[in-house]
Symmetry: C2
Subunit: 124 residues, 2 copies
């Protein structure tokens, strides 16, 4: 979806179709989905909402997600500035992950999704 105006299709005098305001690149919704819609990404953000959580605790909380994907998602989120990784101790190594302000800004959309999902009892 283009940021200005709605997308429509017009037909010229020869029956040829032309698209007005097409999405030549992924639209805002598509971009947003690619940021918070990856598998487990939303759940990870949501589980960090109450404060810092350690890696393996997150792993235990998210039954069904593998360590590999949690690690990958956390790195993506860190790279986008949505999550902050802090080493709280060497020997023994301990790390926590928490939301940044930007990360926190996604919580409303995610909570709306949770409400929608529960209300309509959606099944994946």
């Amino acid at each position: 979806m283009s940021e200005k105006g709605k997308t429509t299709v017009e037909t010229d005098g020869y029956g040829r179709k032309k698209t007005i305001n097409a999405c030549y690149e992924p639209c805002s919704i598509e971009k947003g989905m690619r940021v918070i819609g990856g598998k487990w990404t939303g759940s990870i953000i949501f589980h960090l909402k109450d404060g810092p959580v350690r890696f393996n605790d997150l792993n235990r909380m998210l039954g069904g997600a593998s360590k590999k994907i949690i690690d990958q998602r956390l790195k993506e989120l860190e790279g986008r500035g949505m999550v902050l990784r802090t080493v709280i101790s060497d020997r023994p190594v301990a790390v926590t992950y928490e939301l940044t302000e930007f990360g926190r800004s996604a919580l409303k959309v995610l909570d709306d999704l949770r409400v929608w999902s529960e209300k309509h009892n959606v099944q994946a």
Copy 2:
């Protein structure tokens, strides 16, 4: 995330960790994401918000998505009762896709995502 109570991790007297209210199955957010978070799914729903759209028009509107994936997503959405497929004419064949009430109920979440996405100028 469990529907009741927040997920936490407790440690017993022997240092063993136990998760309270873990997600033994994908939580609501995860389920919701799997319904509207698939690649192009959100965009497709959003482009149907103003009424019935024909297959190839949708294809033209969604620059970047292939017919195959649009077809696949429409079938998924139809299977979930979010989209209605109607053959409006044989000879020449013409089909339209439109949102059902349930499909329409997802528009708010998607529009919130669009607003969040534009406000923070997220880049996929």
